[in-house]
Amino acid sequence: MKRTILFVFMALAILLAACASPTAAPAPTSAPAQPAATKAVASQPTGEPIKIGIIAAFSGTNAVLGDWMKKGTTLAVEEKNKAGGIQGRQIQVITYDDEADPTKSVNLAQKVATEDKVMAVWATSNSTSALADIPIFAQYKIPQFTNGTNVDITNKGSAYIFRATPAGPSFEDTLIDFLITVKGMKKFAIIADTSAYGKGEGDYQEAALKRNNLQALTREAFGIDDKDFTGQLTKILQTQPEVLLLGSSEVASGLIAKQARQLGFKGQIAGGAAVGTPKFIETAGETIAEGVFFTTPWLHDEANEMSLKFVNAYKARWNETPEFHGANTYDGTKLLLLAMEKANPLTSENVAAELHKISGHKGLQGTFNVTAKGETITGTLVGIIKGGKLTVWTGK
C-alpha cells in the first residue's frame, strides 16, 4: 500500500516534470556586469556580420508564429543585405526555438545576450514569453522587438522593449465598437484561455464592452492545451449570445469556432489578432470560418503600392501569401535597420536610443511614432473571412 502511494507520487512528479519541458541550461543567478556585454558588441571588428536573434516557438501548436516572425524579419534583412548592408556589414538572422515556454525563453535570452552578442532581438510573439524576457534584454541593453499584444509588455518600464504592432486593446476596441455600433449587437459571450495573451484579450473585450455600457453574458476560460470545449461552450450557449468573442491562439480559436457551430451556435463569431490568420481558417475549416469578423493592423491591399510590393516580394521568397505577423515583423525590422544606420558608434544601446527618436515613419501598418514606453503604432481595421480568405470589411 505504501509502495503504491509512493509510486504514484514519484511517477506523477516525474511525468509532470517531463511535460513541463525541462531545460538543460542552468538558470543564471549572477549575470556578468552590463558594461562588459555592451562593450563586447561594440568591439566587434568591422566586416563581421551584425546579428539579429529571433527567439520564438518553432515547434508545438504555436510553431506557426515563429515561422511568420522569421519570414518577415528575414525578408527585410535580405533586402538590406542586397543593398549593401549597414556600414559595410551584412546582417545575419539567428533563430532559437523556445517552444512557447517562458522558462526556455528566458534561458535562450540569456544565451543570446551573452554568448551570441546580438545587436537586437525579436522575442517573442507569445506575450507570456515576451514578458519573461524583458528584464534580461533590459539588463544587457539590447533592443527587444515583440509582436505580443499584452498591454503589460510596454508597462514594464524598459527602454529596450519595442512593440512593432498595436497593443491588444486596439484590436478588441475596434472589434467591439464595430459590432455594437455598426452591427447593432448587444449580447456578447467571451471564451479566452489562461495565457497572458488569452487573458489579456478577454480583459480588453470586457473593458471595451464596459465602455459601451454593456457586460458580457458570461466569460469562460480554458488551459492552452485543451482540445475539447463542450463544457464551456454548453455553458455559453445557455446564455444565448448574439456574438461569441474568442481570445486565444490560432489553433484553439479555430477548434472553438468549429465546436461552437457543431453544438448548434448560429450567431456571430469574432475575435482579435489570432482570428485574422490563415491558421485560424485552416483549423476551423473554410465553411465554419466563413463570415467570422476579426481585426488586424494590416491586410493585403491591392490599392496600396507599398503593400502590393511587400506581398509580391514575400510570395516570391516564401511561396505563400503574407498575413499580418509577416507584415509587422517586416515593419519592425525596417525600423530596427533604420536605427542601426543612425547609431554611431553601432552598439545595441545606441540602436535602442535611435529607435526612440523615430517618428513619422511610413510602414505597412501605417505611420510609426515610437513612444517612450516602446509602443510604435496604433490603429486596426475590421476584416471578414470570405471564401476562405481574409478580406477587408467593406460594409456588406
Binding site: M10, G223, G231
Partner: protein, 297 residues
C-alpha cells in the same frame, strides 16, 4: 435548453474525451500488468499512431489518399508493429529499478516526439471529419457524428478486448503470463511472445484512439504530452494494472473534466480533475477498481 439537456450535453462531451483517455489508459494498464513496466512513452505512441493513420487519410504518403476506415485499420496495424519493435527495446527495462524504467521510457518518448517533428514537421494540421459536421439534435442535445463514432468504436474495442482476453487461447495465455511469469513459462507459455503481443495491442489501441479523435482535436507532435498524462492519471485512478479500471478511470477522468468546465469553473478543469484523483487515491490507494494483486510489484 433545460438543465437536464445541458447536463447530458456536457456528459456526452465528457464520455467522448473519456473514451479517448480510456483507450490510452488500457495500453498503460496492459503493459504494466504483463511486464511490470510503466511505459511513459505511451503518450508518444498515441501521437505517432495518430499520424500513422491520418497520413493515409490525408494523402500524405505519395499522394495516396485512402478512405477513413482503411486509414484507421492501417494506422492501427502500423502502430502495432511499432509496438512490437518497442517491446524488444523495453524488454531489458522491465526488470530494472522503477527510476531507471521511468528514465528509459520517458527518454524514448522524447525520441519518438522528435522523430515526429523531423518526419512530419512541428506545426501540425487540422483533420476533416469523414462524417457530416452537422450535429444530430435530440431533445436539445447536439450529438456530433464524429464524437458518436469515437464513443461507439471505443466501446466496441473495449468489449472486444475483454472477450479476447477471457475467451481466446492467446488471451488466456496472456492473462496467465501476466499473473505469474515463472509458472506460465514452466507451463509452456512463451512469455516474451505474449508480452510482445500485449505491447502491440496497447499501441494499436492508442492509435485507434488518436485516429478517432483526430477530426475533433488538432494533430501535432506536441499532442503526446497532454493525453499521455491524462491516460496515465486514468490508469492510476482506475487501479494500476486493472483492465476494467483503465476503462472506468478514463471515463471518470473525461467526465470530471467536462463537468467541472461546464458547471464549476472552466479555468481550473485540470486542477479539479487531478484534485479528485488525489482524494480518491488517499481514500482508496488501489484505485476505483483496484485489485490486490497490483501491490506485489
Amino acid at each position: 435548453m433545460n438543465i437536464v439537456s445541458i447536463f447530458i450535453q456536457t456528459l456526452v462531451g465528457g464520455i467522448g474525451i473519456g473514451s479517448l483517455y480510456a483507450l490510452v489508459a488500457l495500453g498503460y494498464s496492459m503493459i504494466y500488468r504483463s511486464m511490470g513496466l510503466v511505459n511513459f512513452a505511451h503518450g508518444s505512441i498515441y501521437m505517432i499512431g495518430t499520424y500513422f493513420g491520418i497520413i493515409w487519410y490525408r494523402g500524405m504518403v505519395m499522394g495516396l489518399q485512402v478512405p477513413y476506415p482503411i486509414a484507421f485499420v492501417m494506422g492501427i496495424l502500423l502502430t502495432a508493429i511499432l509496438g512490437l519493435i518497442l517491446e524488444r527495446i523495453f524488454r531489458p527495462l522491465a526488470h530494472l529499478d522503477l527510476m531507471l524504467m521511468l528514465l528509459g521510457t520517458i527518454g524514448l518518448g522524447y525520441v519518438l516526439d522528435n522523430l515526429a517533428v523531423i518526419i512530419w514537421g512541428a506545426e501540425g494540421f487540422a483533420v476533416n471529419s469523414p462524417l457530416p459536421n452537422e450535429p444530430i439534435v435530440i431533445g436539445g442535445v447536439a450529438l456530433l457524428p464524429q464524437m458518436l463514432l469515437l464513443i461507439t468504436v471505443s466501446a466496441l474495442l473495449m468489449v472486444g478486448l475483454n472477450v479476447f482476453l477471457a475467451k481466446s487461447k492467446m488471451g488466456k495465455a496472456m492473462r496467465a503470463a501476466a499473473q505469474d511469469r515463472e509458472t506460465a513459462s514452466a507451463m509452456g507459455i512463451p512469455v516474451n511472445t505474449t508480452n510482445a503481443l500485449v505491447f502491440a495491442i496497447g499501441a494499436g489501441l492508442a492509435a485507434a484512439a488518436g485516429i478517432l479523435a483526430a477530426p475533433i482535436v488538432y494533430v501535432n507532435p506536441a499532442m503526446s504530452a497532454a493525453v499521455g498524462l491524462k491516460g496515465f492519471a486514468a490508469f492510476i485512478l482506475g487501479g494500476a494494472g486493472s483492465i476494467p479500471g483503465a476503462i472506468v478511470g478514463g471515463l471518470v477522468f473525461g467526465v470530471l473534466e467536462a463537468i467541472s468546465a461546464g458547471f464549476i469553473s472552466s479555468a481550473y478543469t485540470k486542477g479539479i480533475a487531478f484534485v479528485v484523483m488525489i482524494v480518491v487515491l488517499m481514500i482508496k490507494p488501489a484505485g476505483i477498481v483496484g485489485e490486490v494483486t497490483v501491490d506485489k510489484v
